[in-house]
């Protein structure tokens, strides 16, 4: 019927009425993929004369004069005005408009809603915005683009990304956002070891969200508050990142090919700088030995510090390579000078190649999409490589007018070699480079030494006459080429869905969604290495091992069965009702095993469990299953498209709760008021106010109810059992987050300017979590329902188009979020603090992260300065005095606010955009500085003092340092503290100064993304059929840190995703600047 009307309309309008009238026809296509756009409004400006495009995107229209202007508009696309200019054929590509308030957004459970109906905050980002700079982990590309989402990337190759929405809510539980792809929740698990996550030995294997193919993403919608996520149930308490993938279009076929290469180099402003005056040792002096040219000074190889003798080019000494028989310097003395190449030369150029092809299309009853992506990622560390193969397929078929079936299948395989070791770990080269190093060692000579015979020729010989293995530090190339880890992850996810239209206002949807990962990880320490603290048992501190091999096998699967009834009914002229009724059955299963050799390897370079010197210890097995059944309902009542009332309720039953009390109910209620319907003003395009209240329940982690025992390795033939570290609790109840949110959003001046403001508060109660206990209780932690954490804050996102003309436009986007977080209470009034950092695998440096009542979540505790009249106090030796207590709050890792500024400039076919990402505040304790200054690596530990005398000269000779502060009597400090050697230095760990001295402000302003895209003009493309478009982009990421306060590192760098090491850096990797190009072909 509509078609006939349309046809009629087109016919009528096509009839020429006046002589000067001309007929204009053409085709409207999607700018992104060249697909035809049906249903686009085409109107002659200033008239009611218009038409809509047909199913092939074609239109034809009679215009009053050749100087008329045509206006092309469509919901979700940027309205375009085109002067006819005497032309008879005008083809128009239309761009999608991310700022449109009328766009359709995907909400919980994949339900599409018009944005004006939504009574809660949701911020949508287009796929284009994510893929612009070709970051192979799309999560990182969200940073700065969505208000209220705190993304902390680390600089690891494929490393895990911390994604926290609206602050940390759970004290020791999961705080990471849930990822949902086309309605399928996918794992974002972090499979890193407990030791790794607590700053000890380990490798960061990343989290699974990184497996998602960014080129497959159509849009991302971030659901922030409980009202938006209540339907998802328990696991969405931390917000949801909803990903909608690209879908084929009916009666169309398109092919897109993306090909890009980026290069990465380290940002030297985020790496250690070295003093160049003093070499190896903790104090002046050399060993004396004859290493070939007679007895002479020998560098103190076994001293992992640079507090030694002053460099003197006239002094000939035996360096480490005098002991390397294959070195040209074997048995030679060389001048005592600093290294030409410092450890920053260790880092190589990263190369990422990203190739993608996407086929989409459909007939009148089917649509499909098939995409393949290949990513080759070579990191900045030698011998590091990630390979990703990603295959995505989805299709749907209209079986009848009422019945549609669809399916999606996705497979990705990620293989990694040499992912970076992290933390305080011999397999993290930054441990030696940033903390324990001799600045006389030339990294390129170390490279040659390793590659000559692939031997562990380290600068760190155990004695003046050599020996094996190195005492503390391996040759860093040996570490990378021999002691590497490798891994693979196979990730499958997909769904089958069936939609049946019962009536024109109700449909039933059945869906089975499946997500599974198979992980395999191998770690090794080669025979001949300095020992590394490695082990598999998370319940004991790892032992030092001379050589080692471990393997970890894990399979994980989650299946969701959904049954939904969807309503959308106009109840009367004024009232509309949309709603749903549904059930969800979720089953997850995790099975894993980690096994390792014991006591070292028999045959070098054979990495197999059977190659264990001592009998293998029992592997660590896990078998964990969860079942959750939910029923839920939602109704959204609309009045004249102006007032909306939204109600949701859900009841879950979970197996992780005690069987007799395993169900919990929660709900949300929201209201929206489109005030622009009543407040009509020419400048106001759209305006909406919204308010909501919601509760979300959450179940405990599995296997936290009943007590079980640990089984240590038997003592010979005598069995041993032991109580575990954690006491379980059969009385756990579901936890609950209550949140209230209010917001206002508006657009002005025909959508040229707009903003969205949200205020929220959420309080999480009765968290079912393990809390650390004093071991005087017999345990180190216990599962309890604990306390209350409050988060409140504001989020603002705004946009403006200051300039818009036919050839040039400039749009500006802005996000700002401020979250204030407080631990209100803990599980007992007597308990005022819970330590977050692991008790068994504590953070080095004797600092802890804590949830302290009355303070923000995650505060750092350690020794503080002793203040006198507000000034740090020094003792009679001129050194800072530390408080006796290590429970002083010395830092708050939570940022004061986060912001992002996006700029997009379009000039004809050229588009330029850049993003500035800002983080203000957030404290970080640096173990690198704590140790590295103590070993005299950094420039300010040497050089001249204010008298012009070397700081490292004896105080009696005018050397030493006067630290800013006061003496114990309150007078200005004038005591020159000794800084002669590594045992007496004022800096760093040796004399245990206040830990607060090594806490830094983690603020930064980063030029996060820059992209310049040139779309070849259609006049050129015309000749290249079947090509429909070519876009060429030059892209850059993290090119410039505009401002930061941490001198030698990237304040964004983290160890892993999770709670325990937030605000703690150890062995930090430098930021990587990436730049490259991408070519996109549309067929």
């Amino acid at each position: 019927m509509k078609k006939i009307l349309l046809l009629l309309l087109v016919t009528i309008l096509s009839v020429p009425v006046l002589a000067q009238e001309t007929n204009v026809s053409g085709r409207v296509t999607d700018d992104a993929d060249g697909a035809p756009l049906p249903g686009v409004n085409v109107v002659v400006k200033g008239t009611t004369n218009g038409t809509v495009t047909d199913s092939d995107g074609r239109y034809s229209l009679t215009v009053p004069s050749s100087s008329s202007t045509l206006v092309f508009s469509f919901i979700g696309l940027v309205t375009q005005e085109v002067e006819v200019g005497g032309r008879q054929s005008i083809d128009v590509p239309m761009k999608s408009d991310i700022t449109q308030l009328n766009e359709v957004v995907v909400t919980a459970l994949g339900i599409e809603r018009k944005r004006n109906e939504l009574p809660y905050a949701a911020q949508q980002v287009s796929g284009d915005a994510i893929t612009t700079t070709r970051n192979s982990n799309f999560v990182n590309a969200l940073s700065g683009k969505v208000a209220g989402i705190d993304i902390k990337t680390n600089n690891n190759l494929g490393g895990s990304t911390n994604v926290v929405i609206r602050g940390y809510k759970s004290i020791t539980g999961n705080n990471q956002a849930l990822f949902v792809i086309d309605g399928v929740p996918v794992s974002n698990a972090n499979n890193n070891s407990v030791q790794q996550r607590n700053g000890g030995t380990g490798v960061d294997y990343g989290n699974a969200a990184a497996d998602i193919n960014p080129d497959n993403i159509a849009s991302i919608n971030v659901l922030k508050g409980a009202a938006a996520t209540a339907l998802y149930g328990s696991r969405a308490a931390n917000g949801v990142v909803m990903i909608t993938t690209k879908k084929g279009k009916k009666d169309a076929f398109s092919v897109a090919v993306n090909s890009g290469v980026t290069f990465g180099v380290i940002d030297r402003t985020t790496y250690a700088k070295y003093q160049r005056e003093y070499g190896a040792g903790y104090g002046s002096g050399f060993y004396n030995a004859d290493l070939g040219q007679g007895v002479g000074p020998v560098v103190q190889f076994d001293a992992d510090a640079s507090f030694g003798s002053q460099f003197d080019p006239n002094l000939m000494v035996y360096h480490w390579d005098a002991l390397d028989p294959f070195s040209p310097n074997y048995q030679q003395m060389r001048p005592w000078v600093g290294a030409k190449n410092d450890p920053s030369e260790f880092f190589e150029t990263a190369v990422t190649s990203n190739q993608n092809v996407t086929l989409m299309g459909g007939s009148d009853k089917t649509v499909f999409k098939l995409a393949y992506t290949r990513v080759d990622d070579k990191g900045v560390l030698p011998n590091s490589k990630l390979e990703k193969d990603l295959v995505n397929f989805s299709a749907s078929y209209d079986v009848t007018d009422r019945l549609t079936v669809g399916a999606s299948a996705n497979y990705s395989r990620i293989t990694g070699i040499g992912r970076y070791g992290t933390g305080y770990n011999g397999n993290n080269p930054n441990q030696q480079f940033r903390q324990w190093w001799q600045v006389n060692v030339d990294i390129k000579e170390q490279k040659d030494a390793y590659f000559r015979n692939r031997q562990n020729i380290s600068w760190n010989w155990p004695s003046a006459t050599g020996g094996t293995p190195p005492i503390y530090s391996d040759n860093p190339y040996w570490t990378r080429y021999e002691n590497y880890a490798n891994d693979s992850r196979d990730h499958y996810f997909g769904y089958m869905t069936m939609t049946y239209k019962i009536t024109d206002w109700m449909e039933a949807i059945g869906r089975v969604a499946f997500d599974a990962t198979t992980d395999f990880q191998e770690e090794r320490v080669a025979v001949g290495s300095a020992g590394v603290r490695f082990g598999v048992d998370p319940t004991i501190a790892p032992p030092n091992v001379p050589s080692f091999y471990s393997r970890f096998d894990q399979s994980y699967s989650e299946t969701n069965y959904d049954l939904l009834l969807n309503f959308n009914k106009k109840l009367s002229e004024s009232f509309s009702l949309t709603g749903l009724l549904g059930t969800n059955l979720r089953r997850t299963r995790l099975s894993s095993m980690k096994a390792a050799t014991n006591g070292g390897l028999v045959i070098p370079k054979l990495y197999s469990l059977s190659n264990s010197i001592s009998p293998m210890q029992a592997p660590l097995e896990q078998y964990v299953r969860v079942g959750v059944d939910g029923i839920f309902a939602n109704a959204n009542l609309g009045y004249k498209e102006m007032l909306f009332l939204d109600l949701s309720a859900r009841q879950d039953k979970s197996t992780t709760l005690p069987e007799d009390d395993n169900s919990y109910f929660y709900f949300s209620t929201s209201a929206g008021f489109v005030f622009s319907k009543v407040l009509t003003a020419p400048w106001l395009t759209f305006g909406k106010a919204r308010v909501n209240y919601a509760e979300v329940g959450n179940d405990p982690v599995p296997l936290s109810l009943y007590d079980v025992y640990d089984k240590p390795t038997a003592f010979g033939s005598i069995a041993m059992f032991s109580l575990p570290n954690t006491k379980n609790n059969p009385q756990l109840v579901a936890e609950r987050t209550k949140s209230i949110e209010a917001g206002i959003e508006a657009e002005f001046l025909e959508g040229r300017v707009g903003f969205d403001f949200t205020w929220y508060q959420s309080n999480s109660f009765d968290q079912a979590i393990p809390v650390n206990l004093t071991s005087a209780t017999g345990y180190v932690s216990r599962f309890v329902n604990s306390g209350e954490v409050e988060n409140k804050g504001i989020e603002i996102s705004a946009f403006a188009t200051p300039v818009e003309s036919q050839n040039f436009s400039w749009t500006l986007g802005l996000t700002f979020a401020r979250n204030r977080n407080k631990v209100v209470s803990l599980y007992s009034d007597a308990v005022t603090n819970v330590q977050l950092s692991d008790v068994i695998n504590p953070l080095q440096g004797s600092v802890t992260t804590n949830a302290a009542v009355g303070y923000p979540y995650g505060v750092l505790k350690g020794t503080n300065f002793v203040f006198t009249n507000g000034q740090p106090t020094v003792n009679s030796q001129g050194r800072y005095i530390a408080t006796a207590s290590s429970a002083e709050i010395i830092g708050d890792p939570n940022p004061d606010w986060l912001g992002g500024i996006t700029n997009t400039l379009n000039y004809k076919n050229i588009k330029f955009n850049f993003l500035i990402d800002i983080r203000h505040g957030g404290d970080i304790f640096s173990l690198d500085q704590w140790y590295g200054e103590g070993t005299g690596l950094y420039p300010h530990t040497a050089g001249l003092n204010e008298l012009g005398v070397p700081k490292r000269s004896p105080v009696a000779e005018g050397g030493g340092i006067i630290l800013p502060g006061v003496k114990e009597d309150g007078s200005q400090n004038d005591i020159r503290a000794a800084n002669e050697d590594g045992t007496g230095t004022v800096f760093g760990y040796p004399n245990s100064p206040p830990r607060a001295w090594y806490v830094y402000d983690g603020s930064y302003v980063k030029l996060r993304e820059v992209a310049l895209t040139y779309s070849l003009p259609s006049s050129l493309i015309e000749n290249l059929r079947p090509l429909k478009g070519i876009d060429i982009s030059l892209v850059g990421r993290n090119l410039w840190i505009i401002d930061k306060n941490m001198e030698y590192s990237d304040p964004e760098e983290t160890l892993s995703s999770g709670n325990s090491t937030n605000g703690y850096q150890s062995g930090a990797y430098p930021a990587v600047k990436t730049y490259g190009f991408n070519v996109k072909f549309n067929f």
Binding site: P546, L565, L585, S722, G778
Partner: protein, 479 residues
């Protein structure tokens, strides 16, 4: 329509079936039941480990008594107790690894309805003896500690008890246990890695422990000490064969922690050399134990400078004997008992024999234990500088010095004896870059975790003790 919805919803409810998945809550890979004796063995291993390990993060007592010195890192020989979490590691090992498992063993024994009552009594007594040992270490290391409110997960903030009160209580508990050990039941058999089920040995071990506990009170409450010591002395170790030894195995993780940290087969680190303080003394005395204690450098026994950096290759290390993976750990030995008896005689306690006889037996037992002969011992004892009657100083110095030598490699025991005798005279490092005002710890400060997790009670305890510092003397350390 309504019909449809009702059908739909009921279909949903029927499919909701987690209630049938109750086994999902059961850990399929770890047991919820295990025999009592397995906890007993585990706790003894944990106890031996914490007492024996030379790990700088846990046990630095060999440094405090200046038997060892470090090569590079000087925080620990200079008594920095916060750079690493040393106090926490000791605390945690004793409470969570040792006492918690002992309590679990007791709980399981008490719940065992099939075990004959007299066997139950005996086994509980064996567990009790080990628990008394663990409390003794805790109390003599930290002073006031959580005791009456400890070991209760439902009380996350246990109050601290006065150390003298705890001490008195564990002595009473030890007496009860000693009574039960001789009540005729069967003890643990092969789970008893100390004595393989020989209850007579347990009685001797218990009495020797009692002797040790009693003697520590000699300065603060001589009367009480006298009673305890005299009662115990009748049935203590009489031979090295009686020693309470933990028999480490050669394969990790049941190897001696010394080997895990110092044996090149397991670690490349070179953190320790022997301190000149002990080597010079042994050289001066021509001590026959030197080859069993130390390695040589160019044929000499040469010690490093305590509290300062030392080149690893220039000085003697602890002997290969001590870093063998299966080198046994002593919890209490015959030599120590004889030294206690010598001291008892000197203090006028009626334990039989003369101080010199016990002193000679103690030294001979030590020399023979380490690998020397009785002849070596006789020669050694014949020297005027060793001979009891002519060795320098009062009885505290004579016994203190020789006991310090005999307790080589048993840092925590040597430290406690040094605190009691105040001999040998040990001085904190000074000069050069050494921080001002160092003193050798006479207790270990409370763990940082106690500050973050049990802050109020820790503060109260610190105040009661006169400050949570390493220079606060414990109640028995009065002279």
């Amino acid at each position: 329509m309504r019909h449809l919805i009702i059908t739909f919803v009921s279909a949903m409810l029927v499919t909701s079936c987690v209630d049938s998945l109750d086994d999902y809550n059961i850990d399929q890979k770890r047991p919820s039941l295990a025999p009592a004796e397995t906890f007993f063995t585990a706790s003894m291993k944990q106890l031996a480990d914490v007492l024996t390990t030379p790990n700088v993060n846990t046990n630095n007592f060999r440094l405090y008594v200046q038997q060892w010195a470090t090569t590079t890192y000087l925080q620990e020989p200079r008594y920095d107790l916060t750079s690493r979490i040393i106090p926490q590691n000791i605390w945690q090992a004793l409470y969570k690894d040792v006492i918690a498992d002992l309590r679990e063993a007791k709980r399981l024994l008490e719940e065992d309805e099939l075990l004959p009552a007299e066997d139950k009594t005996t086994r509980l007594a064996q567990v009790e003896v080990v628990e008394v040992y663990a409390w003794f270490v805790l109390v003599t290391t930290f002073g006031d500690v959580p005791y009456s409110q400890a070991m209760d997960f439902q009380n996350p903030v246990p109050a601290y008890d006065d150390d003298a009160t705890i001490y008195a209580d564990i002595l009473e508990r030890l007496d009860v246990a000693l009574g039960s050990l001789s009540a005729g039941g069967n003890g643990f058999d092969n789970a008893d890695v100390l004595y393989d089920g020989d209850l007579d040995q347990w009685v001797k071990f218990g009495n020797s422990l009692k002797l040790k506990l009693g003697m520590l009170l000699a300065d603060v409450d001589t009367g009480k000490a006298k009673g305890i010591v005299e009662a115990a002395a009748t049935n203590v170790f009489t031979d090295n064969a009686d020693n309470a030894r933990f028999p480490y195995l050669s394969a990790p993780p049941n190897n001696n922690p010394l080997s895990a940290n110092l044996n090149p087969a397991f670690s490349s680190r070179q953190d320790y050399v022997v301190a000149s303080v002990i080597i010079d003394k042994l050289n001066a005395l021509n001590d026959p134990r030197r080859p069993f204690y130390f390695t040589t450098v160019n044929g000499e026994y040469k010690g490093g400078n305590y509290g300062f950096a030392n080149a690893y290759g220039d000085f003697s290390h602890t002997s290969n004997k001590t870093i063998a993976p299966d080198f046994e750990a002593l919890l209490l030995d015959y030599s120590e008992v004889e030294f206690l008896l010598a001291e008892a005689v000197e203090r006028g306690f009626a334990v039989g024999g003369t101080a010199e006889e016990h002193y000679n037996k103690a030294i001979e037992a030590s020399i023979v234990y380490w690998g020397g002969s009785s002849g070596d011992a006789a020669t050694y004892l014949g020297q005027p500088s060793v001979k009891y009657t002519s060795a320098p100083g009062n009885f505290k110095e004579k016994i203190g010095v020789q006991k310090w030598i005999a307790l080589y490699n048993r840092g925590i025991d040597a430290w406690t004896e040094w605190r009691k005798f105040d001999y040998p005279v040990l001085l904190p490092p000074s000069g050069g870059s050494v921080p001002v005002g160092l003193s050798i710890p006479v207790r270990i400060i409370y763990p940082i975790n106690e500050q973050t997790l049990n802050g109020v009670n820790r503060e109260a305890a610190a105040a009661a003790m006169g400050g949570d510092v390493a220079s606060t003397k414990l109640f028995w350390d009065v002279n």
